[in-house]
Subunit: 246 residues, 2 copies
């Protein structure tokens, strides 16, 4: 049976406090939601809905932020937001700031983004994307009576390879990694690949149907059997001591 990836178009941009599930359930795809579907929401609409949209004129950059901004030809207010969201700078070179955010994510610019917004604004990542995912999943259960999984997706670069791909920054109702440890292959040998980050693969799959505009911020993955054991973002993050590149 084939897996389906269904884009969900919404009629307008999302504002702080909007009921995303009400908006979803008014769409055709939302009305046809099925038990066992996986819903993937972009970081951007979650951040907007949760009020993580920042007016840059209200940000007061420190001298450090102003200094970095000047060397990197960036907006000092954006650099200030990056520093505020950063636990540890990993690399700062070629005008790129890679840091570990306070959520534990390693990414460029601490996930701060100015695209698909009025000029003078930027979004921070959701405060806790696992919580966001759980809230959405529970609301779907309440409003539509369906048990689904929810993943929050963002678009990150990666070392070694060109181009960005979508990865999970929060999950609910799904175990984000399939562990094959100890599982035998068709020749009764233990598999070399021991764990697959299916939540990241699901996010990447949905990016393909979304494109990069405002009005397709949700996608539904159907006919994919997954482990409903509740996982968290932390399952997807390598601890520093085991990371060969930090």
């Amino acid at each position: 049976m084939s897996m389906q990836i269904i884009p969900v178009k919404i009629p307008s941009d999302i504002e702080s406090g909007d009921d995303l599930i009400e908006i979803l359930l008014k769409t055709k795809a939302g009305r046809e939601l099925k038990e066992g579907d996986i819903l993937v929401f972009t970081q951007k609409i979650i951040s907007k809905q949760e009020g993580q949209k920042i007016e840059l004129s209200k940000v007061k950059p420190t001298l450090l932020a102003t200094g970095i901004a000047s060397a990197y030809k960036k907006d000092p207010r954006i650099v200030q937001l990056i520093l505020d969201e950063t636990k540890r700078i990993i690399r700062m070179k070629n005008g790129i700031i890679i840091s570990q955010t306070r959520h534990g994510l390693v990414c460029a610019n601490a996930g701060i983004d100015e695209s698909n917004m009025e000029k003078g604004f930027a979004t921070l990542l959701p405060k806790d994307s696992d919580d966001s995912a759980q809230r959405l999943r529970k609301r779907i259960k309440t409003k539509a009576g369906k048990n689904v999984a929810v993943i929050i997706s963002d678009t990150f670069g990666r070392p070694f390879r060109e181009g960005q791909t979508d990865v999970a920054i929060g999950v609910s109702g799904i175990s984000p990694i399939i562990d094959y440890e100890g599982i035998q292959d068709n020749f009764k040998r233990v598999l070399r690949v021991t764990a697959i980050a299916i939540a990241d693969e699901i996010c990447s799959a949905t990016e393909l149907v979304r494109g990069k505009t405002l009005y397709t911020p949700i996608a539904i993955v159907r006919n994919y059997a997954f482990d409903k054991k509740n996982g968290t973002l932390q399952d997807l993050l390598r601890v520093k001591s085991l990371d060969l590149f930090r």
Copy 2:
């Protein structure tokens, strides 16, 4: 319209010289192939089909390979194969060897794999996966009269995040990256995300339907519009001078 990911089950393991397209076209999914489909083949069956399966008893490890193997508790013959396939060692720690292969890929163990094979054998990566993809694409055109794209997929780890995901190691008939540079978003602002590695996202999407056994080594992606301009693996590889982690 939703995108579909269709797994293709084959009846038996692949041997060197098998006609993969004949085998594909005998399956139900193969008979229903459509113009504009993307076919994703796993590295493993391409390597087997192309005779890149190595009998370990015929490998003579050097003293260097034997030394590394002893420190890393690995098979010295496997280490020898890794060194043979490696252009440059990137990291060697915690029993893990990350190198840049002669194809330019940065991955663990130079892509050498012992899973899903009889004991005493290992596969090397295909010599040139772009060529492999092109050969398969042309053969589909000849045998089935359909214009498709072909991608060769392998399962790699990555820094910072747990779990592995599938990425492209060869492409034909598709541009592997969508470049949004200069494209405006819904607010007439230039998008921050400038390039998406769709070929890697497609590979990840198909991994979800394949699982990790022998008999589903092909998947078909349908209803995904893509740029048919022919790209290569090199489009997906960051050059060392622009890489912050080498």
